[in-house]
């Protein structure tokens, strides 16, 4: 677990401030809010680039004769989908809508126990099951990458290994030194971005790439 407020404190000195309170002073060239925003953007970038935030979601339940279900607003991509009942599970084979049409011309209305899932048969942000589940109450389980909560002063915690704390610090430093201001240091911003790139390559090796 990392705490973005610790990351921010670690950036203060390297931004040329003597103390964190100086950032809050009027006319400061950078604000704490901005630093949290750069930290938040870095975490969001990780949620699409690195397989860091994988969760097993079981919040969706089937309804009788309903094929399409809305994905969680946090959903980024699906690694595995399954329909789980009290006694068994059926792993759903990922299938494109073209394949569904090739398989069954009447696929939208074919009833049965779901065996396939399509992420492009319905609107963006939905998952479509084939065949149509005939019973309600089955769990649509997904092993999915999720977007973590927004990083802010009020919610600074991110559920990733603590060794990644400097990643968020370097994102704050890169953003601040790249910002148009009297304290801008484009060469340092460039270097800090290179540091982020190195972190990301190591993360990709350890935990896998994202989208």
């Amino acid at each position: 677990m990392i705490d973005a407020s610790v990351c921010l404190a670690a950036a203060v000195y390297r931004l040329g401030f003597g103390a964190q309170s100086e950032i809050s002073a009027a006319n400061s060239w950078v604000t704490e809010t901005e630093l949290y925003q750069w930290g938040d953007e870095a975490v969001k970038r990780l949620s699409r680039e690195i397989s860091l935030f994988i969760n097993y979601s079981t919040s969706t339940m089937t309804q009788a004769y309903l094929a399409t279900y809305t994905l969680s607003p946090r959903h980024v991509y699906t690694l595995l989908a399954a329909v789980v009942t009290t006694s068994e599970s059926q792993i759903l084979r990922p299938t494109t809508v073209r394949e569904l049409y090739a398989l069954d011309a009447a696929w939208p209305s074919t009833p049965g126990f779901p065996r396939r899932a399509s992420l492009d048969a319905g609107p963006v942000g939905t998952i479509t099951l084939y065949p149509l589940p005939t019973a309600a109450g089955y769990t649509v389980a997904q092993l999915e990458q999720e977007i973590p909560d927004d990083v802010s002063a009020a919610a600074p915690q991110v559920a990733v290994p603590a060794v990644l704390e400097p990643y968020v610090t370097y994102a704050m430093l890169a953003g601040a030194r790249g910002k148009e201001s009297e304290a801008a240091m484009p060469e340092m911003s460039d270097h800090f971005r290179q540091r982020l790139s190195l972190y990301e390559q190591v993360m990709r090796h350890l935990w896998g790439g994202g989208q």
């Binding site: 670690a10 994988i54 969760n55 068994e88 792993i91 060794v163 430093l173 030194r177 390559q201 090796h205």
Partner: protein, 234 residues
């Protein structure tokens, strides 16, 4: 070297002596700790082995709440020492189409997803204790007597990193002078990472450290040529 000795060396090399003012002592310590964490992240140099009680009738478990210093799993074994083998999702599905809900006497395989999500096969029907060996992040060096858990021959790399860290505030050519220290640090991390990698392969661990040589350092170790002295940065 302990933290106090390393901090003194950093201070001396920045011409600050025993009472650092421009580079405060607290920031020297921050630099040493950041370097220590980064070295361990690059090399997976610290490993821990601890028991983990698997909750019954559950396939997926997050391990960060169990092991706060968690990075990646290296090996999982049963209490009797039998290895719990790593498997990809496709392997588990090929082995047992019901693997997501399959109950069993004991866990024989696991899959690892995300930064800390472990899926076990088969789900134990009663709490089962497994022995988890994992790569761990370091505990911060909290006092001057603290000694880093990495081999002593790499402690000077932390001194080099702290100098690089402290000069980040200056930017441009002044910072360019410190990049050679960062290069020194990366070379040390690359060397130790190679040792840990071969050791982990020999131990049949499930994860090896990142191969630092595969990363293009050329941009990292020099500043933009239009803004800094290239000769110094190289």
């Amino acid at each position: 070297m302990n933290r106090g000795q390393m901090a003194a060396r950093v201070s001396e090399r920045l011409a600050e002596g025993g009472a650092p003012t421009f580079y405060p002592a607290s920031k020297i310590i921050d630099g040493l700790n950041e370097g220590y964490g980064f070295f361990v992240f690059l090399t997976l140099a610290i490993e821990r082995t601890a028991p983990w009680v698997v909750a019954p009738n559950t396939t997926f478990h997050h391990l960060l709440p169990v092991f706060p210093d968690w990075i990646v799993p290296l090996r999982i074994a049963t209490a009797s020492g039998a290895r719990v083998r790593f498997s990809f999702l496709a392997d588990l599905a090929a082995r047992d189409s019901q693997w997501l809900v399959s109950p069993g006497y004991q866990v024989s395989r696991y899959t690892f997803q995300g930064s800390d999500l472990i899926g076990v096969y088969q789900q134990p029907t009663a709490p089962q204790t497994l022995t988890v060996t994992y790569a761990a992040g370091p505990a911060p060096l909290t006092d001057d007597a603290s000694v880093p858990e990495i081999p002593v021959e790499y402690h000077p790399a932390l001194v080099a990193y702290a100098i690089y860290y402290l000069r980040q505030v200056e930017g441009a050519q002044e910072f360019g002078k410190a990049l050679k220290y960062f290069q020194e640090f990366l070379e040390a991390a690359g060397k130790h990472g190679a040792y840990v990698r071969s050791r982990n392969l020999g131990c049949k661990y499930d994860t090896v450290p990142f191969e630092l040589a595969s990363f293009d350092h050329s941009h990292l170790l020099k500043l933009r040529p239009d803004l800094a002295d290239r000769k110094v940065a190289q």
